[in-house]
Symmetry: C2
Subunit: 227 residues, 2 copies
């Protein structure tokens, strides 16, 4: 019974996600669902991406957290429209939460809508929000074993960001080991090694995003791996 209920809840979510996708498609806004462990640097990556690309590609942001508006406050300071979703203890965003957030967010006419999910490598992977593509992030200080241990998150990612490259020499993180495990799950997703803190390696990530925005604007059927 529990399994069936969960399956029904997921099915209802998928329908709302499909509605979100239709709604968002009207504006040709690229919708990116950004996911990682707590503290991998999702908000810092958004801050840096806004600084580098925000002028060329106007953005809006949905922030997901259990409690607090700390992340939304950081985005708001940059002058980008943002809505904070507090899940009140819930371990992931769902499509209904995003639908509600969209009503309060002036996303139309913007090139990118970032959805920063709750910090969690497990649960968010199961929930379609209506995004165009998913980006999975891991920081070098978390270790290179994350794709093998949390495969669903990395299997469905259109791109993988390896953050905190500035800490690399202080860790035993091996990009080769990460890539080896990742390729068993996900043969094609580009890997962007960068430091959101220092800006190192950011250019390739920004160029890729620009390409996805252009594809979306041109009405490409798929701009990323379908979730």
């Amino acid at each position: 019974m529990q399994v069936k209920l969960v399956s029904n809840v997921l099915k209802a979510n998928d329908q709302i996600a499909a509605d979100n996708r239709r709604l968002l498609a009207r504006g040709r806004t690229l919708v990116v669902n950004l996911m990682s462990s707590p503290g991998s640097g999702k908000t810092t990556l958004l801050e840096r991406t806004i600084a580098e690309l925000g002028e060329a590609c106007p953005m809006a942001v949905v922030e997901g957290d259990l409690f607090t508006t700390r992340d939304a406050d950081r985005i708001e300071r940059l002058g980008v429209p943002v809505v904070q979703i507090n899940t009140e203890g819930g371990c992931h965003l769902d499509a209904q939460m995003v639908r509600a957030a969209l009503q309060d967010l002036p996303w139309e006419g913007r090139d990118i809508l970032f959805i920063e999910n709750v910090g969690n490598l497990v649960c968010p992977a199961a929930w379609d929000l209506g995004e165009d593509l998913r980006v999975a992030m891991v920081s070098v200080s978390e270790g290179d074993d994350k794709p093998a241990k949390y495969p669903r998150m990395f299997r469905e990612a259109a791109a993988v960001v390896v953050n905190k490259l500035d800490l690399l020499s202080m860790t035993d993180f091996s990009l080769d080991r990460l890539e080896e495990d990742l390729r068993l799950l996900n043969p094609a997703a580009p890997i962007f090694c960068l430091s959101a803190r220092t800006g190192e390696g950011l250019a390739a990530w920004v160029a890729w995003l620009k390409g996805r925005v252009a594809a979306k604007r041109d009405g490409a059927a798929t701009v990323g791996v379908a979730p």
Copy 2:
């Protein structure tokens, strides 16, 4: 209906956890539920704790992961009895999983049973496993905002470990900010700042554990904050 079902599942879990607690009390084994984000260094802390304290206080370990036996392999290499639980995608351990693991693990007569939970700051906090105490860990590279953002995990912790102290100077982590947020939730839990990698700061953690083992051996009613 969904809420009621979840509540029933949690109630069933609590009954099995109480059974686990009774079973484990017979052996006067201190049972520690170790929880953190993915990659905070739980297994490295266990490796280091075994090296420092394993001779004085014999241990056994239950490892929780979605997939892979990588963590159990690391513990096994140290000659400590270990059972790996694979949740097959599940985001936390539950009491039933631990009960099954105990049947395969020679825990009796050992001073400490460590249960390393799935890497997740959200879901494991809701599930009693039958432990004596909970330890919540965060690494400095994750940032000092984790207690405020994931309060349940930190509210119910008998101790908080701040790991990766060797990376401190490379981050903007502030122990004062973490402590300020933590004290709003949890006035008394000791905070152990350490580097499981280098061994710095480990002595206070090991001394505290020894004290908890002695309290358990003496039959103290509570050896930690009840979950």
